[in-house]
């Protein structure tokens, strides 16, 4: 993988993740404020979870290139950014599992109040961890600059 392709893929990864988090906020709010299942809540939950899953898959694919070409040089100048990158990966794995789980729970048991409660807490935890992940991504992206 060339450096240009790596940089484009990394940007796509970030953009998809932010779009996913924005979409996921809709069901997180609606499931708390509405008594019944609003049709669009399920749609945006699945859209948000799907976008986060796509961002995670792209990041997963790009991680090998990061590890081989970026991590070691970055460790020399900003070791704290390398450590925060690892934290970002850990939280991303947890966030995606929870967000996708929440969207699936909303699909299979969203017509029951207890199903909506479970979906809401999964989506809320996934969204919260996702926001922390995104902030860490912005931080690491800023530290891993070309260096002029």
């Amino acid at each position: 993988m060339s450096a240009e392709v790596y940089a484009w893929v990394a940007r796509m990864h970030g953009i998809l993740a932010v779009l996913g988090l924005a979409a996921l906020l809709h069901p997180v709010v609606l499931l708390r404020t509405r008594a019944n299942l609003v049709p669009h809540a399920r749609l945006t939950a699945e859209l948000g979870a799907g976008l986060l899953l796509a961002a995670f898959a792209i990041g997963w694919w790009n991680y090998g290139a990061y590890r081989a070409n970026v991590k070691a040089p970055l460790w020399l100048v900003h070791p704290e950014a390398v450590l925060r990158f690892e934290t970002k990966e850990h939280l991303a794995a947890m966030a995606v599992a929870l967000a996708v789980g929440g969207a699936l729970v909303l699909r299979v048991s969203g017509r029951q109040p207890v199903g909506r409660e479970a979906a809401w807490i999964l989506l809320l935890c996934g969204w919260t961890l996702g926001v922390v992940t995104a902030l860490l991504g912005v931080y690491v992206g800023g530290m891993a600059h070309p260096g002029w």
Binding site: L37, W60, Y63, G64, R67, A68, K71, A72, W75, P79, V82, L83, R84, E86, T87, E89, H90, L91, A93, M94, A97, L98, V100, G101, G102, L104, V105, R107, V108, S109, G110, R111, Q112, V114, G115, E117, A118, A119, W120, I121, L122, C125, L129, V132
Partner: protein
């Protein structure tokens, strides 16, 4: 059970999603506890622990989902789902904080 009303599979997926998050975090904590190759030697490693952790966590999540979905009855699933807003964050959030402390 009509579409969207299966408490049993709702609980199964909730437990499976939590199992993935918990398994991933425990694997990372376990490797930090037992010792992992230092960051400065990453280019010398033949395999990537992150991929293994994600794969194993997904496998654990699938096993938990299938087990809960096949063995827990509807009434117990409703009770367990009712308390999901308590046990899900209790399981997941302390481990997420541990991931911040152990990168």
């Amino acid at each position: 059970m009509s579409a969207g009303r299966s408490a049993r599979w709702g609980l199964a997926i909730t437990a499976g999603a939590c199992a993935i998050a918990v398994s991933y975090a425990l694997q990372r904590l376990g490797s930090a506890w037992t010792g992992e190759v230092h960051f400065t030697q990453v280019v010398q490693q033949a395999h990537i622990p992150y991929y293994w952790r994600c794969g194993l966590a997904a496998l654990h999540g699938a096993v938990v989902t299938a087990t809960v979905g096949l063995w827990v009855d509807h009434d117990r699933a409703v009770v367990a789902l009712r308390f999901a807003p308590v046990w899900v964050p209790l399981l997941v959030l302390p481990l997420a904080l541990a991931m911040v402390a152990v990168p």
